[in-house]
């Protein structure tokens, strides 16, 4: 069992990260920490893709190198996903600035108290 996990340590870390990220996202009352949790969650997924590209004993995907090659496609995909993640974080932080201006706090519970009854 331990050996099995050790041989797949990258995947293990990837899923630990998604788990930790999800927990932060749900468990933290502070909105900024929620966004950090969201980033950790996404990073776990990115790592999962990158780990999947790994090929034992392979060389970089260059014509001058010898076969077998590692798969370059997941890296390209994740580069795109990282850009998406950065934009999401930017929008989220922009919204948080507005929420802070409107309610004067970033803690979930306190905001709920400030909001007039819907």
């Amino acid at each position: 069992m331990i050996e099995f996990l050790a041989s797949r340590s990258y995947f293990l870390v990837a899923f630990l990260l998604t788990g930790i990220g999800t927990y932060m996202l749900i468990g933290n009352a502070n909105l900024i920490k929620k966004i950090i949790g969201m980033n950790v969650f996404q990073t776990g997924i990115f790592l999962f893709f990158i780990a999947s590209a790994f090929v034992e004993g392979a060389s970089p995907p260059l014509l001058t190198a010898s076969a077998p090659y590692v798969s370059p496609l997941p890296h390209v995909l994740i580069l795109t996903a990282i850009v998406v993640g950065v934009s999401l974080t930017a929008v989220a932080l922009g919204l948080i600035v507005r929420i802070n201006d409107a309610y004067g706090t970033l803690r979930e519970g306190e905001i709920q108290e400030v909001i007039p009854d819907e």
């Binding site: 966004i35 969201m38 989220a92 919204l95």
Partner: protein, 484 residues
Amino acid sequence: MSDLAALIVAFPMLFSVVALLAGLVRQETGWPVAVVGMAVQVLVAAALANRAFEETIRYVVGGFSAPYGIELVVDGLSATMVLLVAVISLAVLAYSRVAGPRTNAFYAVYLLLVGGLTGMSITGDVFNMYVFLEITGLAAYALVASGDGGRSALAALKYLIVGTIGASLFLLGIGYAYIATGTLNMVDLSQQLAEVGYTDPLVQASFALLVVGLFVKVAVFPLHAWQPDAYAGAPDSVSAFISALVSTVAAYALIRIVYTVFTVEFLQANPVAQTLLAAGAVVSIVFGSVLAVSQNEIKRTLAYSSVSQFGIVVGAVALANETAMIGATIHLVGHAVMKGGLFLTVGLIATASGARAVDDYEGLIQQLPLGAGVFGVLALSMVGVPPAVGFVGKWYVVLGAVEAEAWPLVVVILASTMLTLAYFARVLERIFFRDPDGGRVDVSRLSIGMQVTVVVAALAAVALGMLAFEYGQMLQPTVAELLA
């Protein structure tokens, strides 16, 4: 000519940049730019749809041949979505000229959202679909936040967090499918997934992640929590636009993923997958309606109504036969027109009278006959009164359910009509059968554009009902190919 498939995604994005740049020269110039852009979009979409119903258009982006490059595929179903997105976004513009928001940044994001939705509708590559899903998401979050005050920002943040989780699960699902097959092209994936075997855990996990990710975007109960806040917190034009299109295109993506990528054989090999879809549908229909009845704010009632109506579409996807799929498509189009129209009408009523709660609607027929009448027509159409389009969609789905002998689903969908009546009857009773409580109504605040748009929506809901059977026949070859 087939370059149109690529241009139709590029056009709105180009105009989005133009709208933003025009704002640097002069304030409040976004609206004319958006109108020109959307008028072109409608024409291009119509030209594309005209050809797509005859034969499927395939376009390879940048000359990288499929399955390696990104392929754009326009069949009858995609063409329907592209045309729907173009027409609705043009119609909402007619409403928003006076109703606002008026900044150039708003129209830039608006056009970006159109680009994202169009891209999702015609892409033939799953990762490309993820990227468009995120573009759509980002633009939608920003639009929801374009309202005043903290409420819309809070609603947008909630939408962003939940939406990102949904999209990330979708991405993880793509990762699983990619690891299983080594390809991202939808058609190629469907063949290679079959070779890997439909009962392979990797393939099953991939299906579950993709479907659950899209459930979040479609707002299927219990993953709908972002939706009422987002619709209620956004400005009226935005609520109408988003409620009409964003979940609709997400539901289209669900159809693509389930049938083009995983195919009907996958559902047959995994009855539990079909059960997952059917369970989501039933729960959504029932709880969406129940929650809609218990709301006081009218926009939240309409938002929960969407949860319930999309349950019907997901139910049709679970049924996996032609009749139900035609019904799902008609209901998607019909729901977009009806729900978009209802949100605009609610906005119009609020602009004239300030009424936003169900109780404020008492005696509205005497004070604002136009708004009240349009609301009545659209609400009854949503309930499924023939000959309106709401009836035709449900009719096909129920027929499909009977064909598939899925009796529980037949019962739930028929019951959903009663449930829909339950939450609209509350409002209609107040509008038509009570005396006004003396609130002031100022009709002069309504622009001609606002009034024309809601009337056109009501007329369209009825007219589409008449055309829907014909459209169903037109769509039949596309659906047959989809389910083959």
